[in-house]
Amino acid sequence: MNKTFLIFKHEFLNMMRRTGFIIMTLIVPLVFVLIIGIYQIVSGIAKPSEEITKIGYIDNLGGFMQYTSQDKINLVRFDNTGEANISLTAKDIKEYIVIEPSYLSTGVISLYTLEKQLIPPPEEVTAIKNFLTSNLLSDKVPPNTIYLVEAPLNVVTIRLTETGAIAPEQGGYGNLIIPTLFSLLLVLSITFSSSYLLQGLGDEKENRLIEVLLSSVSTRQLIIGKVLGIGAAGLVQVLVWVVSAPFLMNFASSSIGGFLSTLQIPPNFLILCIVYFILGYLLFAVISTGIGAISPSAREGQQLATIFTLGAVSPLWVSSLIIMFPNNPAFIFMTIFPITAPVTLMVRLGSTDVAAWQILLSIIVLVITIAGGLLLTIKIVRTFLLMYGKRPGLGTIIRSFRSG
């Protein structure tokens, strides 16, 4: 049997049997269920009150008689501040406003309350605003116009293709969910697999098993077998997450108004996400192996690998900017730069149509980096894996490559 396959099989099965791996595979869907549960509890607690709030008003200007019922807020008329104050202290009303004769020229409305407020609650301000607007416009314009003045804009975007037909993908927040989810899963997988890989390599190096392995197989066979074996285990993990997603979404639909379950995942979206997941995973597996080779211990290796993991995660820190300005040159660069490419592209995919040339170039750069990285890693392993207890400096690495 091919030795690379033997190592692949061993690493894959070893990884699948690791307690940490099993816990991680199960914990992500469980965390999802937990989030849904917390959402349900929080939404239950934060449910808007059904009670009607009463706000008093004193109309010194005159003409504010109608539209006193604004959603869940009722406006109650008082003739003077004395009456209003009695109701306020008796807590019959929450607060009251005074419409002075000068209002038409100044726009100033005084609000009296017993509560210490930073700003008045927005829903109350909206209710007062609509009450004032409606009364000011009543008898002057038709009722429909009053509604339009209160809520003049309800944008419905329709995306067209270049031929003018309605595009099958209409964008919106729904489209952001899947790529964002994939990028989060990628970051999680990279972090954990990189840690397993470094731990495994560090252990083999520390207990000299690496020498026994290399007396049986070539460095190339060892590295490729390891990277692919741990990579395949990572894919199984993601497969478990993706397969469990419909069930979780179904469960979620009863609680989150069916929003998640109505998400449609276009096939090309999913294919690109999977392609980038695999490429991203392989890239970081190769980087982790190289770091493992030059690090004296697994712990030091993990510290060094964190620098690269942070690079992979960095697009998530600026994800709101990427969503708002997906075609900014900086983000196009991040799509092509291999370390940031997988996560950046996944976030951009959700918010814009990424140009085909960018995707193609990014994939080519990633593939070249992985292949080059693999060759470099094999060379690093050959040169430095058998050095124990000391990490070669950058100068030593460069010197040895020149001389080698």
Binding site: I7, N14, N207, R208, L209, S215, S216, V217, S218, S403
Partner: protein, 298 residues
């Protein structure tokens, strides 16, 4: 055909020459001692034989074939610091590492069980490696080294930290391998083990060969014209003896340049000394080691 042939091999790391124009060969059915002080280049030489690292110049052949991927299945290696997958079961570990040497899973399981039985380790086959004692895991590591019946076995400090019972068990296994015609390279600092087991030796210092040949021949080359004598009777001044050193249970007699051991024996018998043991003294390998390395470092 030699099992191993190393010809004019040179290997440098950055600015340090680790192995400098080294040549030697190991024949089938011999135990070959590879000795030298720490940092002499022994491990680098071993790693080049296993094709873990490549020589800068020179050539290494294993059974007539240039050392490379194809020759890896023909050799077995026991590293100085033992390492196995601690969380894996004994049998699984042996079978996996044997499969990397080209054995089928079925024959690896069969042979592993057989060897575990021979070494009394069969009851531990299902245990995890970290449940075994140090001695037990060394025996497992030795099984891993030879399970695929390699023509060349490289043992780096095989007896370190072994108790006398396990040392004897391992020694017998090594001798059995030699009797089967395998070539064995023994790298160790324990000179008594080299003297007891090795047929030929190579001593390296600073990457260069400083002593190479049959152990007996090297020892006689360094002999200092002395004999060890266990006797009864009075040993007064003996002609031809320049110095007498009394050891526990015997005396060491140093002869002048004109006297041979044969002449001394005749002289002793003529004087009526009862000779219980008469042995030509050869310096212990340890002494030769210190002398040669010391001279080379001067």
């Amino acid at each position: 055909m030699h099992t191993v042939e190393v010809k004019h091999v040179v290997k440098s790391f950055a600015d340090k020459v680790a192995v400098d124009d080294l040549s030697f060969s190991v024949a089938p059915g011999e135990i070959f001692g590879l000795i030298g002080p720490n940092g002499a280049g022994k491990t680098t030489t071993i790693k080049m034989m296993m094709d873990i690292i490549k020589p800068d110049t020179g050539e290494i052949t294993i059974l007539g074939e240039k050392s490379g991927e194809a020759t890896k299945n023909k050799l077995g290696y026991l590293p100085e610091e033992r390492g196995l997958y601690k969380k894996q079961r004994v049998l699984d570990t042996i079978v996996y590492l044997a499969s990397l040497k080209g054995m089928s899973e079925r024959s690896a399981v069969e042979k592993a069980n057989q060897m575990l039985e021979q070494t009394g380790m069969l009851p531990h086959a299902r245990k995890k490696i970290d449940e075994l004692s140090k001695g037990m895991s060394q025996i497992i590591q030795f099984i891993v080294t030879v399970i695929h019946e390699p023509q060349l076995v490289i043992l780096d400090e095989p007896f370190s930290a072994l108790d006398p019972v396990n040392t004897e068990l391992l020694k017998n296994m090594v001798l059995a391998l030699r009797n089967q015609g395998k070539a064995i390279i023994l790298s160790t600092h324990q000179m008594n083990q080299v003297e007891e087991l090795c047929d030929r030796i190579l001593m390296i210092n600073k990457g260069r060969a400083v002593l190479y040949g049959a152990l007996g021949e090297i020892k006689s080359r360094y002999k200092n014209n002395a004999v060890l004598l266990d006797f009864e009777g009075e040993l007064a001044a003996v002609p031809g003896v320049t110095e007498k050193r009394h050891r526990r249970g015997y005396a060491e007699l140093f002869l002048d340049a004109n006297t041979t051991p044969q002449q001394l024996l005749e002289s002793l018998l003529a004087r009526g000394v009862i000779v219980k043991r008469f042995e030509i003294a050869t310096p212990p390998l340890n002494e030769i080691f210190i002398k040669v390395v010391g001279q080379d470092n001067e």
